[in-house]
Symmetry: C2
Subunit: 201 residues, 2 copies
DNA sequence: ACCTGAACACCGTTCAAGT
DNA sequence: ACCTGAACACCGTTCAAGT
């Protein structure tokens, strides 16, 4: 036993990440166990700790990946034509779609157990900021007379709302509703808010 | 040892509930352990299982209590005068205040780990419905020309949004902001939404 | 009948021991 | 240097054994 060197450290790290993503995607974080991960890739527990300091470090990296995927999804909206309002609506729909299709991974991003005590790392916060910058930019274009700070606040308020609709609807905390009803709820929130936002400026 | 009979089953149950509430309020659910609870009340693990089938059963009951407290908080808004819009705004502010002051207990209501696989019990769903009925009623009064179903959808959409603001702001997922900034964000969401709601009907 | 505490299963983490 | 697996700590849950 020991000293197999069948894979480089980098390869093992990749295998761990893939195995972990797969488990989270199928069963959620609560099913993510060190023993399961290492068994899945043909290694034993100890090997995991050669690569990661602990389960939290792995989860942190997973969250980064998920955030990147979410960002890619939101990048897909057409922000170049002259209808910023429609772009906001599209963004919200894409957010719901991502949350619905990648439910467990999306949940991980906001799992209360998985928030590091010493706050999130800088690179993580930066990814969040980039994600938000697009929405803020659309708000600027919708209401050019608003200050940058107002656009920030507006984007934050609406996006929190969009997130709330996804959380309560998809987790079934509200009650059981189908996905198209959820989309209606989302549109209702977004369109009423945007109407108010436009006419109050 | 054994057969102390210093307390009735009902008394022990009350002691467990109090100890559990106290732990959750101070440290959150993740700190709630059977061994800690029973040690706090001067009993041992086995006693816990005389009263509850397991930790989940206790947590379920805790959630019911928290929901009652939240309902009481929201009952406090003045819905009798002729300004239903202001009553909605007040309700939203009270919801934020409750979430902020009873952070860990409020979080428990939406903890993903703590949602029973076979859905929530009927009595729980009923408490949620009662809570929502008030908001729906206010929507009816704001826009009497809307159908009941529209009022339901509107209340659901706005309340999801309100919840989202509380979640993202209080958990620091967005970024670090003070409580008054949170209230501003909340008001922005609610007022813009309501403006749209009123003028689009 | 009421209560204890040893015991089991499970899981994160460590580390002495192998090659 | 790389990897194993026994071992420890922690925790939910069970149950034989005490009074």
């Amino acid at each position: 036993m020991a000293r197999r060197s069948e894979h480089t450290q980098a390869e093992i790290k990749g295998m761990i990440l893939n195995a972990a993503e797969s488990i989270v995607a199928k069963e959620g974080v609560q099913a993510l166990k060190v023993r399961t991960i290492t068994a899945d890739i043909g290694y034993t527990v100890g090997t995991f700790y050669m690569i990661y300091g602990g389960l939290n470090a792995l989860i942190q990296e997973l969250k980064g990946r998920i955030l990147d995927d979410l960002a890619a999804e939101l990048q897909g909206v057409n922000v170049d034509d002259d209808d910023p309002e429609q772009a906001v609506i599209d963004s919200a729909r894409r957010y719901l779609m991502f949350a619905n299709q990648h439910y467990h991974r999306w949940r991980l991003l906001f799992d209360p157990q998985q928030t590091d005590k010493d706050g999130l790392p800088d690179w993580y916060q930066q990814k969040v900021d980039v994600l938000f910058a697009n929405i803020e930019c659309l708000f600027q274009r919708m209401t050019p007379e608003a200050t940058e700070e107002q656009a920030r606040q507006g984007a934050r308020a609406l996006w929190s709302g969009v997130h709330g609709v996804c959380v309560l609807s998809l987790t079934g905390s509200l009650d059981a509703v189908g996905i198209n009803t959820i989309e209606q709820t989302l549109d209702l929130l977004v369109q009423n808010f945007l109407y108010g936002w436009r006419h109050r400026h």
